[in-house]
């Protein structure tokens, strides 16, 4: 793997400050499989990787009649398991 420095903010404000500080040299990682794949293939070479796992889900979850709105950092699988996605939307 390409070397990078891992940073782990404990809240959204810290995360935004780190992003502002490091700009294009930083990439965010949440679940992480996409970014790690790109780094392994050397398509992306960030100097800093900012991990979001300590952050709470962002924004409000809303269940509307014909759609589901999800905040950032929400796990799709957990949402399905909790029955929050109406079956007619699952195709």
């Amino acid at each position: 793997m390409i070397p990078f420095t891992y940073l782990e903010p404990s809240n959204l404000d810290e995360a935004l400050a780190l992003l502002a500080q490091h700009g294009d040299g930083a990439k965010l990682i949440a679940g992480g499989t996409g970014l790690v794949n790109f780094m392994k293939q050397r398509l992306v070479r960030p100097r800093f990787v900012i991990g979001l796992r300590a952050l709470k889900p962002l924004g409000d979850d809303q269940r509307l009649p014909n759609r589901v709105r999800s905040g950032g950092l929400e796990f799709r699988r957990g949402r399905f398991r909790r029955g929050q996605v109406p079956s007619r939307l699952l195709g």
Partner: protein, 153 residues
């Protein structure tokens, strides 16, 4: 470098790791736990599956630092002493493997299913196991092994 503390196969460990260390490198190279196998390296085949807080993940794409404070289970950790896990026994009894590269991942993926749902149907097993590829068995023996371990029909 960063110090991580995790529960690995039931025991607490603490190690210094490079920030960019992948979980599979940490397990195989730093801890010499070579039961976890890497195959595709891009998170598609499921061979490197381990359990992170009970959920199956691809260790080839996980950062070791992301296991800090978590519980990791590898194939080395599911037997109890000399007594194999019922899934391991079932794979042996029902011919659920041939070359064996995918087997640790198959068994851990199946364990995650049975821990959450001890009595899955045959089709639930088939659906769940879609993330774990095998180029030897043709899958029937794998599904039969898991079904035998949990009495599914």
């Amino acid at each position: 470098m960063r110090r991580i503390t995790l529960t690995l196969n039931g025991a607490s460990i603490s190690r210094e790791v490079e920030d960019s260390r992948l979980l599979i490198e940490f397990l195989r190279e730093d801890l010499k736990l070579t039961g976890t196998k890497e195959s595709c390296g891009v998170g598609v085949c499921g061979a490197c599956t381990v359990l992170l807080d009970g959920k199956p993940i691809s260790s080839c794409l996980a950062l070791a630092v992301h296991t800090d404070g978590c519980a990791v289970t590898t194939i080395e950790g599911i037997a109890e002493g000399d007594r194999l896990h019922p899934l391991q026994e079932a794979f042996l009894a029902h011919g659920g493997f041939q070359c064996g590269i995918c087997t640790p991942g198959q068994i851990l993926a199946a364990k995650a299913l049975l821990d959450a749902n001890p009595h899955p149907t045959w089709s639930e097993i088939q659906h769940w196991m879609m993330g774990n590829l095998c180029r030897c068995t043709g899958y029937y023996k794998i599904i039969e092994s898991i079904a035998a371990a949990c009495g599914a029909e």
